[in-house]
Amino acid sequence: MRVLLVDDSRTMRTIQKNALKAMGFEDIDEASDGLEALKCVEQESPGLILLDWNMPNMDGMTFLKEFRANNKATPVVMVTTEAEKSRVIEAIKAGVNNYIVKPFTPEDFNSRITETLAKRKAG
């Protein structure tokens, strides 16, 4: 399965990439903002997107709304420091399937991704 990692921080992309590899994912693409991410998904649709919220050029919510306008199926997990309940609700209404708050442990990360993909498979 191809995974698209969208985060303006190379550090966070590295940490998530390492965690995904530990879970067995090998095909991992990266984008540093929503605009780059839109170009990536136009070329090839990923099986999973991990999406930061606050990014320059195009933030995660703007990308999500544009992406969901054409794609309702691909699971999207928001990975962000935005932890307020109101923000989580906003993201879910916009179409995220799961939510990981930074900072996170590898176990948190693993379980949220596994849960997301299990629901996708069941649905």
Partner: protein, 161 residues
């Protein structure tokens, strides 16, 4: 400042360090920064809007910052590498985001982080802000947190007390 103003930052900092760095933290006594005598080697800053805290900064020696980066990424990165600054910026980003969430003020937002690397720099805040300095001790080294509050927050805290 009361503990009510500072505890979101203490809690967030502790949570970031235990979760991502597997290290405990001991906070020293907070003090009002009267003069800008402290110089730093590595600093990371974020601004807020919509809350009494206007900015938070973390300041390290290069050695301690390097220890944090190595624990974060699993590899040593030189201080002049952009990935070093990115990692330090991400630390303050998580601390600020966690504090903002604990304050839970509608409309609050944080900026992107700024990282300064270079011996002997000082951080200046606006003159109308009250800056609280908190020394911190971890097994990766010592560092400090500075939080700049609108001075009227100090007035509100004094009144409440």
């Amino acid at each position: 400042m009361t503990s009510q103003h500072l505890s979101p930052f203490f809690d967030s900092m502790k949570h970031v360090l235990t979760t991502m760095f597997q290290t405990d933290i001991r906070f020293g006594n907070p003090s009002k920064q009267e003069a800008l005598n402290d110089t730093h080697e590595v600093s990371a800053l974020i601004s807020f809007s919509g809350i009494d805290a206007q900015a938070v900064s973390l300041s390290f020696t290069t050695q301690t910052a390097g220890a944090f980066v190595e624990r974060f990424l699993g590899t040593r990165i030189p201080a002049d590498d952009p990935d070093f600054a990115d990692a330090i910026g991400e630390i303050v980003n998580m601390v600020a985001g966690g504090a903002k969430a604990r304050i839970d003020q509608e409309g609050a937002s944080i900026s992107c982080p700024t990282v300064v690397v270079g011996q002997g720099h000082r951080l200046f805040q606006r003159r109308d802000l009250t800056v609280i300095h908190i020394p911190c001790q971890t097994n990766l080294g010592q560092f400090s947190i500075e939080i700049a509050f609108v001075t009227s927050a100090q007035g509100r805290a004094d009144h409440a007390a």
